[in-house]
Amino acid sequence: MHNKSITDLAKGLRSGEFSSVELTQAFLNRIKQHSSLNCYITVTEDLALQEAKAADDRIAKGDATLLTGIPIAQKDIFCTQGVKTTCGSKILDNFIAPYNATVVEKFNQAGSVMLGKLNMDEFAMGSSNETSYYGAVRNPWDHNAIPGGSSGGSAAAVAAGLAVCATGTDTGGSIRQPASHCGITGLKPTYGRVSRYGMIAYASSLDQGGPMARSAEDAAIMLQVMAGFDERDSTSVDLPVPDYRAGLSNPIEGLKIGLPKEFFGAGLNSDVAAVIEAAVNEYRKLGAHIKEVSMPNLKLAIPAYYVIASAECSANLSRFDGVRYGYRCANPEDLTDLYTRSRGEGFGKEVKRRILMGTYALSAGYYDAYYIKAQKVRRLISDDFKKALSEVDVIMGPVAPSAAFGIGEKIGNPIEMYLSDIYTIAINLAGLPAMSMPAGVVGGKPVGLQIIGNYFAEHRLLNIAHQYQQVTDWHQQSPKGFE
């Protein structure tokens, strides 16, 4: 049951083949059986079984949605009322959220069952899930490899069949890169498409929540629930939400695909390049036209991103002060000591590094040289995408320069870790939607193809991914031992 699609599970629930309580119990058992992957920070067993019972009642009454009774899991960045919400940090280890994130509320309304809260890099800062206070997550394809980050727990849980699907968030690639490394389908929507209310902020002008699932169709079903205007998020965009499943079967003949030459230069592993070429060829067979495009400023996306993200993080994380909630140090001498030690003892090393960087970039005398400069570079990168997307319908390329690297391999070298985000972070700077879907295997580990679209073209991305998944079976492969 653990590798079935949402529509198949919904059919099974309706026909009485199995109940949501049985389905939920099966997933809870698998979570226990595979606890060594460390995907979950909190398993909400009792709550899940209660929700499953309520879902069974709702299905019996005939008032169910596709997601009613489906066991899903939430990245631990989304606030869940009455349930510990840690954001992967010691500073929130004792934080019981007093309210639900809008995304959580929407899944509750749809009647889905929450299995628990998923592991992640601390405050979503990391590309390997190794910065979590709760320890690294193991990639189900290779237990010595990272699952990617920051939504590493989400990606590994879906790949291992420890949740039907999961939420993720993406500030610089945190949905797409782990989706690529774990062989699942993940979509970062257009900035403003999914409410950020109750989604703990890292870099507010870049953060966006999205679906992580086994297929484009499952991702479409999830996004249908997640997307939409929310007056509680001042950056939420008030545009109608299309029917994401309705367009999945549209033919893609005549699709214009752009390949940025900067995505295929030195630094890209040649086996990964071959996977991307093969996937693009598959699209050629489906009637797509391929064109080279250019992103001349792509290289500067990394410095611009790390200035902007660090600056916004230093401002956002100033709320963790040991006064109103979260960790407080023992026996503070005075107020400054309380702030300084609570934060010093509560945050991990990568988070501190970015707070320091952001504080420096925003400090008097450096603000123009770093922060304003980065925002200008951001404009130029965004213009590069606008130009390219005026010539083609979508842009394709790799998600990451290589398949998943080893646990411990890059954690000692933050700059090298940052450089591995080269193909994903520019998209966040522009605010565009992009997805990753499985397109091949390198050295026994999955590799994703990235598809980048125009603003609010999520339906188009899902359609394009779904068409590929109709003629290939990479998305149906499971890691050994999790079939």
Partner: protein, 95 residues
């Protein structure tokens, strides 16, 4: 561009962020390397470029100035480290 250990201490103070004495050296090294990376941006002429603060060109929405939130003080203070009579307690600020 390189930062000294004194620079790191100063920045940490601005951020009210405690860092271990033994880690200061490595932060200075990491931050210096990050700044080297960031200095690459100066290669690009951006004189006439308008800074982009946000991906969406939109104005902040306005709403009528009416109370929309319930008073959740008890619920919020239930998770606070130290409260008394509805107030958050911190070490004495004024002697």
């Amino acid at each position: 561009m390189s930062l000294t250990t004194d620079d790191v201490k100063k920045i940490a103070h601005l951020a009210r962020l405690g860092i271990d004495e033994s880690d200061i050296e490595s932060y200075a090294k990491d931050l210096s390397r990050m700044l080297d990376l960031m200095t690459q941006m100066s290669e690009l002429n951006t004189d006439d470029v308008i800074p982009m603060a946000h991906p969406m060109d939109q104005v902040q929405r306005l709403r009528p100035d009416t109370v929309t939130e319930r008073n959740n003080r008890e619920q919020f203070q239930a998770i606070a480290p130290q409260v008394e009579a509805g107030l958050y307690l911190v070490p004495k600020v004024i002697e």
